[in-house]
Symmetry: C2
Subunit: 266 residues, 2 copies
């Protein structure tokens, strides 16, 4: 059965949650036909924090977040779920997280495992693995931005049974990650929704080009390199669950895990 999912490409307003929500509301309304909407990385806060104090000021706990409350309201209004990038505060730690939100509030959290550049000074590396969550009969995993460069986590999502990887991102190098994502989709046989941001912050320019990829590596939608975009695509979970390559081959069953041991040794 075909399902409609969407990605939203836009520019959060650094340090101004209310302004970001005002930008986001009409874009989310445009995605109302979808059951699931993916937003960029660090969506509530922007990205280029001047320092740790600024990151802390914008971060919120998953269980007590005005931004996630805003999204839950939009979920209730439009009848969809949202995956958003989110600066998560947990005690005195900050995580660069992705949160699945429904009308009832936060449903599941992923904490970015592979931090990029200055993020290493601001955030704690993720400690929740790559959870796969079933929601409305669709199995979702979440990854964040620079995770794109690590085939291991894309495979973990497949082994967890994901039909779809939701991938909030803030790419700064044009084309590089965008070339890899369809191949991650292809070799794992699932869908990927990569929602990337645009605009610039403190000299850092974001490169847009959000994309949706399918289980044969096909590009289902590609947003432009600049400007807001809402891309709605149809996906079929049955296609992601069929890992056959030939009558004798299967993307997952043909793996040789007994030969892969060095992957988990330091």
């Amino acid at each position: 059965m075909s399902r409609r999912v969407a990605l939203v490409q836009f520019a959060p307003v650094l340090g101004d949650r209310a302004a970001t929500e005002a930008r986001l509301a009409p874009l989310l309304a445009r995605a109302a036909r979808a059951e699931l909407v993916v937003l960029p990385e660090l969506c509530a806060t922007g990205y280029a924090f001047a320092d740790r104090a600024e990151a802390e000021a914008g971060a919120e706990p998953v269980g007590d977040s005005r931004f996630l409350d805003f999204l839950a309201g939009r979920c209730a209004e439009h009848g969809f779920d949202v995956v958003t990038g989110f600066a998560e505060r947990a005690g005195d730690r900050l995580y660069n997280s992705a949160v699945l939100v429904g009308p009832e509030g936060p449903v599941a959290t992923y904490r970015k495992l592979h931090l990029f550049d200055r993020e290493k000074e601001l955030f704690t590396p993720g400690d929740l693995g790559v959870p796969v969550v079933e929601r409305r009969g669709l199995k979702l995993a979440m990854l964040v931005c620079f995770d794109w460069a690590f085939p291991e986590v894309w495979r973990l999502a497949a082994l967890g049974g994901a039909d779809l990887v939701c991938h909030p991102a803030n790419f700064v190098l044009a084309g590089y990650a965008q070339r890899a994502i369809p191949v991650h989709a292809q070799v794992n046989g699932y869908y990927v929704l990569n929602a990337n941001r645009v605009g610039a912050e403190r000299g850092l320019r974001f490169t847009g080009g959000s994309l949706a990829a399918g289980p044969r590596g096909e590009v289902l939608a590609r947003a432009p390199a600049a400007g807001e975009a809402v891309e709605i695509v149809a996906i079929d979970p049955a296609q992601a669950r069929d890992k056959r390559v030939t009558a004798r081959n299967d993307l997952l069953a043909d793996r040789r895990p007994e030969c892969y041991r060095p992957l988990v040794e330091s």
Copy 2:
């Protein structure tokens, strides 16, 4: 320091080693400027064996092979090493192998870990892992054809320190694997030499398009979909050994192996 390596795309003659060698000799001569030459999968025999008996008839032990003797002779003549696909007989088993050959004879063997389609009826799955061999100061790994679909083995090659993955193949689906290979090169930060075959055997058509890719995912050379080709490219092992992405990021050092455990569980 820049090094010259080559791939040869051609059509072995099914079941006729002498005819195959006659085709190969002038192609190898054209690659004489290279230090290393990569040939397609199952190069000595062809691919579409009618049955197990035909595969056995063409297969040879690595240590007692007229085809590998032929290649060692060409290595001595032209001053290079060769990686070739090879139907390997070992006792009563057959492996779909890749063999590194120098003027002195066979140097190292890889046995295909992920068998494709009917190969499962003819060959035993590989049991030698993904060895990385140092040769003339260049660190080489070998993979064979359908291994392309398994990010795990590309990563094992990187973890073993490979500068270059030699990838004999006989692709039958155009474009599919060829799109993935540059991404495997990119996320692992090394070179790949994919030597593919052309022609047809018993209704099976091979799709050529051999390619060389670099550590930024760049395509260094691409052979046409049909016809013989010799592609010589310059590679720089120093570029493959520098895994930095930013001043704070590294393709391998940023891995989180403690989080990857499900990759080695069945």
